[in-house]
Amino acid sequence: MADHTPRRPIDVAIARAFDPRRRLSRRSFLRDAGRGTVVVGTALSLPSILAACGIGPGASATPASATPVALPSEPAGTLNWANWPAYIDIDEETGEYPTILKFTDETGIEVNYTEAINDNEEFFGTIQPDLSAGNPTQWDVVVLTDWMIERMIRLGFLEALDHSRLPSFAANVQDLYRDPWFDPGNRYSVTWQSGITGIGYNPTLTGREITRFDDLLDPAFAGRVGMFSEMRDTMSLALLSLGIEPANATVEDARRARDKLLEPARSGQFRNFYGNEYYDELANGNLALTIAWSGDVSQMKLYDNADVEFVVPEDGGVLWSDNMAIPRRAEHPLDAHLLMNFWYELDNAVALTEYIGYFSPVQGVAERVREDAATAQEEGDAEWAGQLEVIAETAFPTNETLENVHTYRRLSEDEEREWNELFNEVVQG
């Protein structure tokens, strides 16, 4: 940078800090800058400040190290865990999380559980500044969707796991979730829950069975169709309907998908592009059919509106997973490992799936849920038995289903921007 002002200590410090050969750490920053540096003075050397923001070059370019994070000998006794809402079993009466309490009983570790994640990108935006600057993020465990995990690995934002601390994972994980496309060898993440993006619809409102993505574009349903504002889900389904495998899609293919969606979008075919809110709209009948997540529709059938069905489109659905990972410089990594291992024990995995109804990555869950359903039936609790039956169906995809699901494309930085821009045109009129 051409900077003609004399080099104050703070500038020297910052300049040294974003030397790509040396990661910026808060301690070194402060030590070099000396105490008593005036904030205003700092602000005046803008390019330097921006580098320290983590938006500068170099600070974030360190690739992920595959060396497992160094673990202390004893757990710290506390842990900060960020997850999505409605993604864990909860005791409605007391508002407590029974399985988390069980974890605390067994290990003595207090868990600060916060439903801080509503959207992958949004959450990423809150932790990216810290991660780019090499600072701890306040979280020890985060639950993010596979493509976001892939991005964070690429950016070096995750700690590599020490699998010697995850014996239950090794023993119990389903093959489908071992060594996934976005994290070979599970070096940085283990699956929390998984699901399929397909189509949810109300047979009474649609008047017919829905089987393909193109049904969403049927003018007969104009104004009552829902789409996702989530780029990957929507684009992948659109690509599949064009006969293109998302994992192999080029930018040109993405353009074709955009073209396919743009015209209907402009003509008002879609009521709106939704995030989680599509649930309400489908349940209360504002939508006749919509892109949907499998677990949501199961829950809807059980609790809110029994007249809905979930279908994997003929041309293909998308299988995704949400995964637990440890952000770089997390303060309680050992506790994090213990938590991750805990959820791979069969009892705990069963408790989780019985409540939220998505696919479990743990072996034996589906069978156990069926056993519990049978037990409930015997004990005369027909309602609970019925619910468990439904959940058993959705606890793990059938082989038949698995043949027709695909995964997201691993998007490079540039591709992601291209796809986002194309999709933006569709979503924002």
Binding site: L46, I49, E121, Q128, G285, N286, E413, G429
Partner: protein, 284 residues
């Protein structure tokens, strides 16, 4: 206070607040300004390249949303004025002993989270909720009619949410109006309408001005109403900026759009200030 230090008094008054704003508004804005001139991406890092071209680029691409947003905001300001002025007038001139109580009634609903209020509107205006559903059942509306996911709902929501920002300043201005001036006008054979138009209304203009600004500006930047009550076709510039920021991680473009928005607002406000009879912002 010693006379020689009298000059310091105004500075003493404005120093705490002024410093606060400098530290927590001005400085961060400078940071953001630099971000808009950067290029790059998350993994390669952003570099300050002085890419001024981002501004025309962003403006060109998002012009329809900009225009739509300004249009909505103008509609909202006009509506809040139309709805709120009579309310403020009634409270100020007819309130009598109950002025405070009435004012309380007006402000009270806005002590709940605006998210909850907007969500309540979503419920009220729901396709088959108790309002529209009943009207449909009685055959007064056709089946496919809907308010949610239309501009009407978005503007309605914005109007509702910003109504007190118009009512309060107008009330404050009207309340200062000396009733004897109005009486004097009627004594001089002005009709009540004339008295209003020529005495009360001009005297209340500072309040109208403040209220219009307090309504227009947040309306232009809002995205919550459009998100909860709107659809793709009601996308406002706030939605665009939010999406660019938080979902596309396109900080330079998002920051640039933000500054363009700010500039547009400032220009419109300056024009309004001139048109409102040279009423400078500095005057109360």
């Amino acid at each position: 206070m010693p006379h020689r230090l009298r000059w310091a008094v105004p500075y003493l008054f404005l120093l705490p607040g002024g410093l606060w704003l400098l530290a927590f508004f001005a400085v961060p804005m400078l940071v953001m300004g630099s971000v808009s001139l950067m290029e790059g991406s998350l993994s390669t890092g952003y570099r300050l390249t002085g890419n001024v071209g981002i501004y025309p680029e962003a403006l060109g691409r998002w012009a329809p949303q900009f225009l739509r947003t300004i249009g909505y905001a103008l509609a909202v300001t006009a509506l809040t004025l139309a709805i709120g002025y009579p309310m403020a007038y009634t409270i100020a001139f007819r309130g009598g002993r109950h002025k405070s109580l009435l004012l309380l009634l007006v402000i009270l609903p806005f002590f709940t989270s605006f998210l909850i209020r907007t969500l309540s509107w979503k419920l009220i205006l729901a396709d088959n909720g108790f309002v529209l559903g009943s009207l449909k059942d009685w055959g007064l509306l056709e089946e496919g009619f809907r308010l949610i996911a239309t501009p009407v709902a978005v503007i309605g929501g914005l109007t509702y949410n910003f109504l007190p920002f118009m009512v309060l300043p107008v009330y404050v201005a009207l309340e200062k109006v000396d009733v004897r001036l109005v009486e004097a006008a009627t004594d001089l054979y002005a009709s009540r309408t004339q008295a209003f138009l020529r005495v009360t209304l001009p005297l209340s203009m500072p309040g109208v001005f403040a209220g219009s600004l307090l309504t227009f500006i947040p309306a232009v930047g809002d995205f919550i109403n459009a998100e909860i009550l709107g659809s793709r076709d009601t996308t406002m510039i706030g939605n665009v900026i939010q999406r660019l920021f938080l979902q596309n991680n396109d900080y330079p473009q998002a920051a640039a759009l933000g500054f363009v928005l700010m500039a547009a607002v400032l220009v419109m406000v300056a024009v309004y200030a001139r048109a409102a009879g040279g009423e400078r912002l500095t005057q109360g």
